[in-house]
Amino acid sequence: MLKTDQLTKQFPAPNGKTVLAVDHLDLEVDEGQVFGFLGPNGAGKTTTVRMLTSLIAPTSGEAWVNRYKVGRDDREIRRTVGILTESPGMYDRLSAEKNLTIFARLYEVRDVKGQVEKYLRMLGLWDRRDDVVGNFSKGMKQKLAICRALLHEPKMLFLDEPTSGLDPEAAKLVNDFVRELKTEGRTIFINTHNLDEADRLCDRIGVMKQKLLIVDSPQNLRQRLYGRKVVFHLRQAPPAVVELVKGLPFVKEVQCLTTESGDKLVVALDEPETQNPSIIRKLVEAGVDIQFVGELRHTLEEVYLSLINK
């Protein structure tokens, strides 16, 4: 569905030198996947999307989108992808319906009227179709921009910061809609700073800082960076408890923390599903009261920051 091979983009700098925006990017996104592209400002995310949507040409390397080659099949790429740009960029003096009608015609949509109505209804804007967009809230403009990106039923959708600047309610609506699009089998490529959003929406995540630092599922990223850790909440940990658990051959690391509500035993494991029962048995045999057990879940923010700051 999407593949890049050593994709690179350099821009000329005012001092006569060049600025490396994207450095030899190798990436693959499969059909039907939601791919999250994370990275700090200036990391090259928008430049990558612009190259993949044939808006700007790569300096070197190759890329294919929907089996079309960037730089060679640019019009075909633009016909088969939808893009939600960082700023909605609507025509404020025109009505919502007129805005979409213009883009439907430019995207060569056959049933212009039908498609415009379908998406205006789908995103709850049908009743406001005759209102000029300049009077819309930011959330409404963003919804209208999503309609615009979908009018020609693209197989692949690029969303650049889809919930940036939206209030929680509007952001939830956008995220719910992305989930709905995923169920339709569309491939979605999201540039985002919202790590929580990426964690909940994306099948795979790539972290970018000019170079692609890592690509994997959110869960695998956590494991690759932090391993898996289980927390055993104990009423009171006996002094030898750490040594007791450390004695088990599969245990990688043990740490005991004392809190007001009791003690916590943090154990690093490879497969908690099969290894937890042995630890529980050992603790019970040692007369330790276990209050509850849970997996220590690192946030994607921790993962991201550790990657970016490396």
């Binding site: 821009f11 612009r50 949507t53 808006l55 700007i56 040409a57 019009r75 633009r78 016909r79 992808v81 893009i83 740009t85 960082e86 700023s87 909605p88 960029g89 609507m90 025509y91 404020d92 003096r93 025109l94 007129k98 213009i102 883009f103 015609r105 430019l106 995207y107 060569e108 921009a145 615009r148």
Partner: protein, 261 residues
């Protein structure tokens, strides 16, 4: 073709909601058409006279058999016909400055460029959207001026001067060339500024040579005949070639997205 028509439709739907643009497109041709008619009518009703001797001698030679008021009326027509040449410059500048800088400030160019439209279709659509009203207004104004002169001026030779090849070349050939230059100039200027008024004012630099000819004619330094008009057409062809080349170079997807500020 459908995409070009879509761009024209979009441009007109948007820019004609802008009062400044509407004012330029409607009021300017109206003033340039009505004002000379009022002057010609006043001269007609004022009776015989007219200080022909105060006009440049080259011009009085052009009057031929015409004397007194009729010769002065021809002089007035020649002056205002030159002002007519300002319309194909001023109107496209107003439209394209607001259209291109407007798209820059609202960030609506990127979604537009992401559609399967070609750069040529986009430039052509925007260019035609700016040039058609200008050429249309000039031609309609010229037609009204011809009809008005026929009705208001008693000497038929005076109104016949409007159908002189000089002015037909001016309106039919030079007008569209001036409009093309104005559109290209707007694109070049709009790529560097982020305020439509600044873009409009900077693009208006094109008016200076036309005003130069206008004042040159008043001062007797320039005589507009068929040869002069053809020379102007030749010059504008060269200017257009240069401006269109620069405009097209600036109006590329990558340039717009990465260099336009």
């Amino acid at each position: 073709m459908d995409k070009i028509l879509t761009i024209i439709d979009k441009e007109w739907a948007e820019v004609f909601k802008n009062r400044v643009v509407l004012f330029t497109v409607v009021l300017l041709p109206l003033v340039f058409t009505i004002m000379p008619l009022v002057i010609l009518y006043t001269m007609e009703t004022a009776g015989p006279g007219g200080a022909v001797s105060e006009m440049p001698p080259e011009f009085t030679r052009m009057c031929g058999d015409l004397r007194g008021t009729a010769c002065t009326q021809v002089f007035i027509i020649y002056q205002f016909m030159l002002l007519f040449m300002l319309l194909p410059l001023a109107i496209p500048v107003a439209i394209s400055a607001y259209s291109i800088v407007g798209e820059k400030t609202t960030h609506s160019l990127e979604p537009l460029l992401a559609t399967p439209i070609t750069t040529a279709e986009l430039i052509l659509g925007k260019g035609l959207a700016a040039a058609i009203p200008a050429i249309g207004a000039t031609w309609v104004g010229f037609l009204v001026f011809i009809l008005g002169t026929r009705v208001l001026v008693s000497t038929p030779q005076v109104s016949a001067r409007l159908l002189d090849p000089v002015w037909l070349i001016g309106v039919v050939v030079l007008g569209p060339l001036l409009a093309a230059a104005a559109v290209s100039m707007s694109i070049i200027v709009s790529s560097r500024v982020s305020d439509p008024r600044t873009a409009e004012q900077l693009s208006m630099v094109l008016i200076v040579p036309v005003l130069g000819v206008f004042f040159g004619q008043i001062g007797g330094l320039v005589l507009i005949d068929a040869g002069f008009m053809l020379a102007m057409v030749a010059v504008m062809l060269l200017v257009d070639a240069g401006l269109v080349y620069l405009g097209v170079r600036l109006f590329q997807r990558e340039t717009i997205l990465t260099k336009w500020r």
